[in-house]
Symmetry: D2
Subunit: 477 residues, 4 copies
Amino acid sequence: MALKTVEQYLESLHKMKCKVYVLGKQIHNPVDHPMIRPSINAVAETYRLAEEPEHRDLVVTTSPYTGREINRFTHISRNTDDLVKRVKINRLLGQRTGTCFMRCTGLDGLNAIAATAYDLDQKFGTEYQKRAEKYIGYMQENDLTANIGMTDVKGDRSLRPAEQADPDYYLRVLEERKEGIIVRGAKAHQTGSLNAHEIIVAPSTTLRKGEEKYAAAFALPSDTPGLIHVYGRGTFDTRDLEGIDMGNVRCGKYATLVIFDDVLVPWERVFMYRETELSGVLVSRFAAYHRQSHGGCKSGVGDVLIGAAQTIAEYNGVANVSHVREKITDMVHMSETMYACCLAASYEGVETPSGVYAVNNLLANTSKLHEGRVMHEMCRLLQDIAGGLVATMPSEKDFQHEEIGGFLKKYLRGVANIPVEHRRRMFRLIEKLTLESRDLISDVHGGGPPAAHRLVILRESDIKGKAQMAKTLAGIE
Amino acid sequence: MALKTVEQYLESLHKMKCKVYVLGKQIHNPVDHPMIRPSINAVAETYRLAEEPEHRDLVVTTSPYTGREINRFTHISRNTDDLVKRVKINRLLGQRTGTCFMRCTGLDGLNAIAATAYDLDQKFGTEYQKRAEKYIGYMQENDLTANIGMTDVKGDRSLRPAEQADPDYYLRVLEERKEGIIVRGAKAHQTGSLNAHEIIVAPSTTLRKGEEKYAAAFALPSDTPGLIHVYGRGTFDTRDLEGIDMGNVRCGKYATLVIFDDVLVPWERVFMYRETELSGVLVSRFAAYHRQSHGGCKSGVGDVLIGAAQTIAEYNGVANVSHVREKITDMVHMSETMYACCLAASYEGVETPSGVYAVNNLLANTSKLHEGRVMHEMCRLLQDIAGGLVATMPSEKDFQHEEIGGFLKKYLRGVANIPVEHRRRMFRLIEKLTLESRDLISDVHGGGPPAAHRLVILRESDIKGKAQMAKTLAGIE
Amino acid sequence: MALKTVEQYLESLHKMKCKVYVLGKQIHNPVDHPMIRPSINAVAETYRLAEEPEHRDLVVTTSPYTGREINRFTHISRNTDDLVKRVKINRLLGQRTGTCFMRCTGLDGLNAIAATAYDLDQKFGTEYQKRAEKYIGYMQENDLTANIGMTDVKGDRSLRPAEQADPDYYLRVLEERKEGIIVRGAKAHQTGSLNAHEIIVAPSTTLRKGEEKYAAAFALPSDTPGLIHVYGRGTFDTRDLEGIDMGNVRCGKYATLVIFDDVLVPWERVFMYRETELSGVLVSRFAAYHRQSHGGCKSGVGDVLIGAAQTIAEYNGVANVSHVREKITDMVHMSETMYACCLAASYEGVETPSGVYAVNNLLANTSKLHEGRVMHEMCRLLQDIAGGLVATMPSEKDFQHEEIGGFLKKYLRGVANIPVEHRRRMFRLIEKLTLESRDLISDVHGGGPPAAHRLVILRESDIKGKAQMAKTLAGIE
Amino acid sequence: MALKTVEQYLESLHKMKCKVYVLGKQIHNPVDHPMIRPSINAVAETYRLAEEPEHRDLVVTTSPYTGREINRFTHISRNTDDLVKRVKINRLLGQRTGTCFMRCTGLDGLNAIAATAYDLDQKFGTEYQKRAEKYIGYMQENDLTANIGMTDVKGDRSLRPAEQADPDYYLRVLEERKEGIIVRGAKAHQTGSLNAHEIIVAPSTTLRKGEEKYAAAFALPSDTPGLIHVYGRGTFDTRDLEGIDMGNVRCGKYATLVIFDDVLVPWERVFMYRETELSGVLVSRFAAYHRQSHGGCKSGVGDVLIGAAQTIAEYNGVANVSHVREKITDMVHMSETMYACCLAASYEGVETPSGVYAVNNLLANTSKLHEGRVMHEMCRLLQDIAGGLVATMPSEKDFQHEEIGGFLKKYLRGVANIPVEHRRRMFRLIEKLTLESRDLISDVHGGGPPAAHRLVILRESDIKGKAQMAKTLAGIE
């Protein structure tokens, strides 16, 4: 098959039997649940691109594993052009969804595993690469979506995994069996775990000697017995239930806590186990890919923020006011900065020993560190331009109300030639864009917190070499 | 009476018969409505202070009008000490409520009217001062809360009031009658209009000759026939309905659109009408007071943000990490900057011709311009310190659930000695503090948008004098 | 006498016999040396204020020690009004000199010693207060200027004083004699040491048990035998020698390294010795006063920067361009922020056990932390507004040159109604204001580096109390 | 010849007979003048690269015009790889010189002319391309350096060229003759005009109908009769004369005002004349190239700032202090941001109709806007890390002085294992790097002021398209 249509994607999700809890109740058809569907719609756009003649060239490529056409969201990067395309696809999808489209984490994990499996085999004589390639081929042939199970719940951040009050605060291998390993733990912030067919699991930190049980990477179908998805609350979750005032009428985002209640992972789906020495490499590769991914999608979301700023300024009659234009210019500058940094990280990508291409780590982290600041800043500027109705617009039901609807339609109109309904919708979109918790927190913490980006930036820059430059110019031999 | 207890305040609200719509339905007991009560609780703290022996001295003073003890929230400032106390009371209440306590706008309006009524009488031979003093005495004697009806809906911002497609986009006097004026229009962003006994109305902009019908200032009980309050949606409005996951367990905030459907205002409650020449003075005085008010309360809310940052850092086990301490230091710096600027604005206050004291306008706007940036920045830093659970914490119902509650209690604990329930609550508070739309938008737009603060800053600074200083030092005669 | 005229001040300096080296040569009349005189002119303005009827009230007060009229630059603060006046005087002098006027450090040191001598006597039964008061009386009666010898050269910053490769890296007492103590060491960054009659010495850091020899505070005339002043280079030092292109035609600044080559300090001029326990208090008090001082003077210098921005914008024909006005607004905001913070620090000052008033340490450091950022930012904005001629203006000699002077006068004119000479001068002033090393580095490091301000800010804010506020609102008992 | 050695470059300059004035005097051997030579040394590095085997591949390419090996500083970009190499060469040279190496402006002008000559010919049937190619071939064959005569002196910025009080405020054609045109005017900020063999002149603004006399682009040898170079003062100009305390012991920068005193330009060196319609295209192309150039060199200079920060932190014993590491991380982030943005601008370059490659204008301006902020910010951070000696270090002569040299060597040492002379030199370098007016002002104004970058950013971003994205997500048809 190799390329799924949007319809086939939805159908394939419908067949899955995930164990899911939402607001204290188990639900059985997440695909059609109003609090989950908008997010599935966002993923669906990654499939839709492949159906659109004008975007097919961008998103469809040929697998070096299978020789067949695949969606780039299952592709392993083999050159800088592959890396650059990731960014451009992400910007396009960010513009189209106005939020996360959730198919990057799995792709980033797949690439990190592909590159590291080779290194593991070289160093330890293992057979991970063969397993990984088989798994990647399976993902590609079925055009599957995966999310990454990265972030452990971590308990006390000042303690190592094995020192925790509860040994399960970092996901660990409980037992080795003939057919595979039994794992226990929980992975937090699982964006769109019910939109994905697969969950790819990796350690969330560099592990040390003695922590072998924590050094496991593997993949599982999202509905594997023992996996429990618990929906995390967001600022607008019940708006989706109400079915009104959703702001973004197409797409949304959520994240779950995924609990691994002693789950069996077959050996052929295990891509690392016990090799603590390379755990840091795997983590770091994933992080680098994911920080690059963010720069693409967030510049796309940034475009939507800019577009909303321009639109509401027009609706309010202030689009030509100089300070509004200056603020929009600042927003463009911020959006382009993220884009430029992660484009550069891609063009300056490097080949790993496996032949898989990695992004330039310094530049990818440079991009992500901007994101954690400028997305909030862009939201603030958009709120500044839009005005107080972002926080005080009555509900859609009030607009439809027999008695007071007329008053609202009279009084909440802006410039004369724009229907009040357009203005109402734009304010609701701005509310959603600038106050949706999952998006805003992800801008800061997606792919690791800013402090982590900073450590990479310092480590990857050749400070010693720069010190030598200064000494030479100062005349210090 | 002169001082109401909290209980008396609630009782007095219960007696009112406001016409209110919430999410498309008329409601009849707003005081006990779960989406409104948290906000009334916040106002109630202004009454509670007067009941507390340790704060009585701070919040209770003697009225120069009645000679009786009154709450400073109905007091007209007569010296810089009065101005300074406003700031200190506000910081205390911000710390205690973690949000807006909604009694400043009315106070600020009352002060602006007190100062301007005198000027109007001097200039036009009117009798506004007598009316204003009588009204202030009434407010003081009954310890009432007022909110300010300032912001008109404005339609097309590039047009003057009379040029709009609909002449009602700015509230206007429709008709003069023997018993008073009939007014029509709507006032937006009416924070806590149902928590207040009175609404004090003033123009939202400086008016010109020919716009006399728009130059009206007056007061009305909030349940005057013809007034319609339409509740505006916020990010967490339905959480209040659910009664769980509210974050701030005490207080909240909302704002309404208040529609004036041809309402009669008796002449004794009219404090300006037709005198466009002084409309700008009234607007500017209110704005200055209100921008000062904000610096006090927001530094108090800032303290809560800092306290939440420190607490969650402890719960996560990272309180001693250097970058966390640096971020908390930055947050303290921001909070103290707002506080210092509005303290200085108060200490440097000046007497108006009426004897009412006005704040230093330049410094009050200096404070407000910081607020519109640093509150968002503090929220971002708090989110940065707290981590992803701000956006992904499951609901309280999940924690109570028979089957999965145990998993959540196991996995979402932080450091060992803190109950998981405390950590859950703190994350919910942080979600509320950093993502409540009414607070965040008010940080930017309360008391007018940043562009308005900037205009005042430029106008109030003696640029010509500064140019002369530079010329002198350059040796230019 | 008690109040010196400018003339008497200059005369008194002429009588001193300081040992001074400038650019590798000993000089014997520093007062008239072109590289030093502009800085003396700046100090002279502190005397001139007392001669000016319109400023006499601001700068002259009565000594509680002598009962006679004194200049506030020798006054010990006894109430918040004294503290506030310091700020207002400093702003005025910053506006008038466009640089440092160098009489604060001594005043700040005197106040710190006055407050701490009392505490020392209380704790150790010493007689420092008597000595200090006598010395203060002497300073007041003779209207003297002092500078503070604070910053030790420090060698390796990771080591304590006694651990250094050279024990003299922190100034220390070498020997106790009957007539006094012999001290050795060097004090760096001695701003205007040749403009001052006295140098007041204090430790630069909190000392511990075992470091008693370093715990000395005392005062000496600047020309005491054994003191050597070595002039430190600045960006424009030789412009003063050339006598052209000085930019600021009135005032300047420099700093020296002062070497203490085994100097005798008589006992009556020793205000602390061996009491390490209170060394930190002394250091901290000085730092707080001095960080407050900076907020005043720098807001005054900020006014000059703003004035220069406005003037050059007019000369270039761009004063009404919107982005220029926005930048000037930002500059005003920055200047007023420093002013407001240190005003608030003064109004919120507190009495020490000695009766001497101390500033609010938290707010004073809040001000200083802004200074270290915004002064550079204001300079950048001024350079942005002014344009490239800040860096490419030919010399005054070129303008006077027979052959090319005409070309320069033709081509370097801006708007038609302003003489080219005015524009030339304004560009030179801007060059001086934004690139004079002593001013720019002092903005960051004067009164200690930003990292020190941050430590105070964190320490002085009640983080634990704020954490409690957050817990209460979250419903955590 | 096609490639000059450093020696040949110096020799070729020696042969030129420029008319030069420095500090009011005509000088006749600028090449060996101490205030000019450091800047020539910087240009010389562009020649040296071609002599170094390890950099030859980077800097030497083949001319499509002559088929011979040329230095890329005379190369016209024919693909994105050419554009990328410009950035990488510039970063390398910025690291090596710590300042401007002044060979970009001519290169950028040459590229802009190459692209625009073609368009002019297409539109107007002229023969500019032939002339341009011949001239480029000449530059390449002789490996010449050119600077760009762009910025007119402009007089009153609110007036058009022809409206000025003096018609010569914008360089103009005075007369057409058989052999060429006679031009009059002056070009400001001519960085390194005496280091260049040629000056390439272009209009500084988009011209309109009626301003044909101002629409001239051409090239002249720098020593053409009638050209007068007047040296502009910088912060450290006379340090070079002293020959000590220069900071950067290798390289420097200066700029002149170049006066065109009725100079004849032969027709074959005229590349545009009277075609106002395309003047804006020429200006904009030059600006885009030059803003890209800046991102490369400034990230290199940024590396030197970072290296100086690290080195002085080590010399002071604070390299491991957390806030120092954070500041250095911030500096790396800033430097990489400029680099990433201009790399992206290059990789995303586009072919013009002529076949010449242009950079992505939006991304090049994104880079430059960062530069105007972050270079100053990096300087501030470096000053913060280094400490007060940046402004108070005595002169080298003091260190050599018989009597006080010993004191200075004793007291101004930092950590024990570093010679005091190294520390002295590093402080001098930091003084130079962070306070050299020509560099700092160029960071802001080189390639046009920030306001110009902002206009391009707004213009080049598809705001209308972004608005459509927002409308779609809001459900607005």
